[in-house]
């Protein structure tokens, strides 16, 4: 049994344990899942392979989530990226890391700020054509206005963190592995 899970070498697992919040068992389990998602077995999951999961494919933010997983930007997710990203959602995960992940969802160009345009793009993904662009722009403007303290018209990570101070991130951003 378990022929798939044994292809991770013990030292590899140990190294991954250090880099993430997962224990050995969880890493093995995630590796199995990774292999399942990696349909062509080339060692990385492409967007197309992610889209094979219906539950994920219908998620409006799936593209943002995948691009955050893909930290080296090669349009696919290898196992290291896979567990590094998931590690954030571990119950033992660091609150700041969770906050960073949430921030990255909106910070599309990765410049450390959520601009008006970026927030608009993300909200557009979330609502599709069910709100008009004018309505959406109003929401964006209002949100930025409320969060933007230094008045530069965009939201920095600190400002973002402040907005979410009262949010129970440990609870909200935890996924059972």
């Amino acid at each position: 049994m378990g022929t798939n899970s044994s292809s991770l070498r013990p030292e590899e697992i140990e190294e991954m344990q250090k880099g993430t919040n997962f224990n050995q068992k969880e890493i093995k389990r995630l590796y199995k899942r990774f292999k399942k998602l990696d349909k062509d077995g080339n060692g990385c999951i492409t967007s197309d392979e992610f889209f094979m999961i219906p539950e994920l494919a219908v998620n409006p933010l799936v593209k943002r989530v995948i691009s955050i997983f893909d930290s080296n930007g090669d349009d696919s997710v290898n196992f290291k990226e896979f567990i590094t990203a998931l590690s954030v959602f571990n119950s033992r995960g660091d609150k700041n890391a969770k906050l960073e992940f949430a921030f990255k969802v909106y910070d599309i160009d990765n410049d450390g700020f959520i601009s008006n345009g970026e927030l608009f793009k993300v909200l557009k993904m979330m609502v599709g054509n069910n709100l008009s662009d004018i309505q959406l722009q109003q929401i964006v403007d209002k949100t930025i206005l409320e969060a933007d303290e230094d008045g530069d018209g965009k939201i920095s990570f600190q400002e973002f963190a402040k907005v979410l101070t009262h949010t129970d991130l440990d609870n909200k951003m935890t996924v059972r592995v």
């Binding site: 049994m1 378990g2 995630l30 899942r33 399942k36 998602l37 992610f50 889209f51 094979m52 999961i53 219906p54 539950e55 994920l56 494919a57 219908v58 998620n59 409006p60 933010l61 799936v62 943002r64 989530v65 997983f69 990203a85 998931l86 959602f89 992940f101 949430a102 969802v105 909106y106 909200l123 979330m126 609502v127 599709g128 054509n129 069910n130 709100l131 004018i134 309505q135 109003q138 929401i139 209002k142 949100t143 973002f160 907005v163 979410l164 949010t167 129970d168 609870n171 909200k172 951003m173 996924v175 059972r176 592995v177």
Partner: protein
């Protein structure tokens, strides 16, 4: 969803009390408090949706998954809603924060990366390793020897012999001109042959209740795990079926051997034939001399732990009497789930023959008819729930054909609508102002003109 106590709630169409709130408000309420209560929306399917391959698939509306043992009813759903609403009032949280309130969409995505109920539905059970110490290992080895070297050859020879005799008798039957007596004889023969199959699998099948007596317009529907389902029911009550054409050995069995049952076969991707198939089904069930028709409305084999969406197809037929059958296999000795992608039929049967036995419960449930105001989709969903409840399966509203197709954008749009409604509710006052402003702007130039 794993039976981990995680509860998935999809607020769905007709929802009773909490009269002071409309559906939209309720939906957004549930959405908003899901983190508070640990509820979580897993599948975003809310309304009936149709997938690109016309007509084959329509989703059922309501969708509820929870721990296997618990069966949730609509009453319970209402109760949960009320609970959520009162929780929300108590917490008095009126402030809305885009970033935190839309977080669940992200988390749902990540959750689906880790584990999704759809993939789970088609996952074969990994064998439990219990031979972990020296004594057990010895016992286990002994078992392997018995199973592989004693039981398997015996069973295989028995099946081979039975099949040879079956073929021989069939060849002789070819010489006999077609008649009713011949058909009856053939069906009897088929029953015997199915028992040969079941004996060679050491099947221990417990039937609960008797199959309903043959009446016109009657269709048996059952959950689907493997072709074994068909053998099990053929042995017990001689059924015909509608199904997918298979290549290889199974194809040969379908076309030649069991032809007198007047089964209806079609290609999975053949949507053009659908009206023809429907007509043939109707003709078949109206003629009571035909064996009862067995349909697997899931359309795919599922691992017998989940039950995917029942397609509305046969539930649309006028005045049809649906006889639900729930089949639950006991996976202690072997996993009877047939994943036709990973395993050939011969390989599947061989694997089962090498295990100790095949244990299953079969329940014949009360026949049901479609309610006057009930849509075929709701009817299909009701029957699906009945079967899932009886067999202890987790009910899902995912279409099994998503195994072969990527879901359409329309499904995502359903999800987006929910978010949009949520935003509308929160920021609605902005929009109203905007509209008024626009109106004012439009009116202004006119008044200007008048002034001039």
């Amino acid at each position: 969803m794993r039976a981990s106590g995680l509860l998935s709630v999809t607020p769905s169409t007709p929802m009773s009390p909490a009269a002071h709130l409309n559906d939209e408000q309720k939906k957004s309420l549930i959405k908003r408090v899901q983190s508070v209560d640990g509820f979580r929306i897993t599948a975003p399917l809310e309304k009936n949706q149709t997938l690109p391959f016309v007509g084959i698939a329509d989703a059922t509306s309501s969708f509820f998954t929870t721990d296997k043992e618990q069966v949730w009813t609509d009453d319970l759903r209402v109760e949960i809603e009320d609970h959520i609403i009162s929780r929300l009032r108590a917490s008095g949280q009126d402030s809305f924060n885009i970033f935190s309130d839309l977080l669940p969409v992200v988390v749902e995505g990540v959750d689906a990366v880790v584990k999704d109920s759809f993939t789970e539905s088609f996952r074969p059970r990994a064998p439990d390793a219990w031979n972990w110490n020296i004594f057990l290992f010895f016992t286990w080895t002994l078992g392997v020897i018995v199973r592989y070297l004693v039981l398997f050859p015996m069973r295989f020879l028995f099946l081979l012999l039975g099949t040879l005799i079956f073929i021989l008798v069939n060849l002789i039957l070819l010489l006999v001109p077609p008649s009713k007596g011949k058909d009856a004889f053939f069906r009897k023969l088929l029953n015997v042959w199915s028992s040969v199959w079941l004996y060679s699998l050491s099947a221990v099948i417990k039937y609960h209740n008797a199959p309903p007596p043959r009446r016109p317009n009657q269709i048996f529907v059952s959950n689907h795990t493997s072709l074994i389902d068909f053998i099990v029911l053929t042995e017990h009550c001689g059924v015909a079926t509608v199904g997918q054409k298979h290549p290889g050995l199974v194809g040969f069995l379908q076309n030649k051997v069991i032809a007198p049952l007047r089964n209806i076969w079609f290609e999975r991707f053949e949507s053009r034939d659908r009206s023809l198939v429907a007509k043939r089904i109707k003709d078949h069930i109206n003629d009571t001399t035909n064996p009862p028709l067995l349909i697997f409305p899931e359309g795919v084999c599922v691992n017998n732990e989940y039950c995917v969406m029942f397609k509305k197809g046969v539930f649309e037929i006028d005045d049809v009497e649906i006889c639900p059958i729930a089949i639950k296999y006991n996976k202690t000795f072997s996993d009877p789930y047939w994943s036709s992608k990973d395993e050939s039929f011969v390989g599947h049967i061989m694997r089962l023959m090498k295990s100790w036995c095949l244990v299953a419960d079969v329940w014949f449930l009360e026949p049901e008819k479609k309610g006057k105001k009930e849509s075929p989709i709701d009817f299909a969903s009701r029957i699906q729930k009945m079967i899932s409840a009886k067999a202890g399966l987790v009910n899902l509203s995912w279409d099994g054909y998503l195994k072969y197709y990527a879901p359409s954008d329309r499904l995502r749009n359903e999800r987006q609508k929910i978010v949009a409604n949520q935003l509308k509710r929160r920021f609605g006052h902005l929009f109203v102002e905007e509209e008024e402003e626009q109106k004012e702007k439009k009116e202004e130039p006119q008044s200007d003109k008048k002034n001039e």
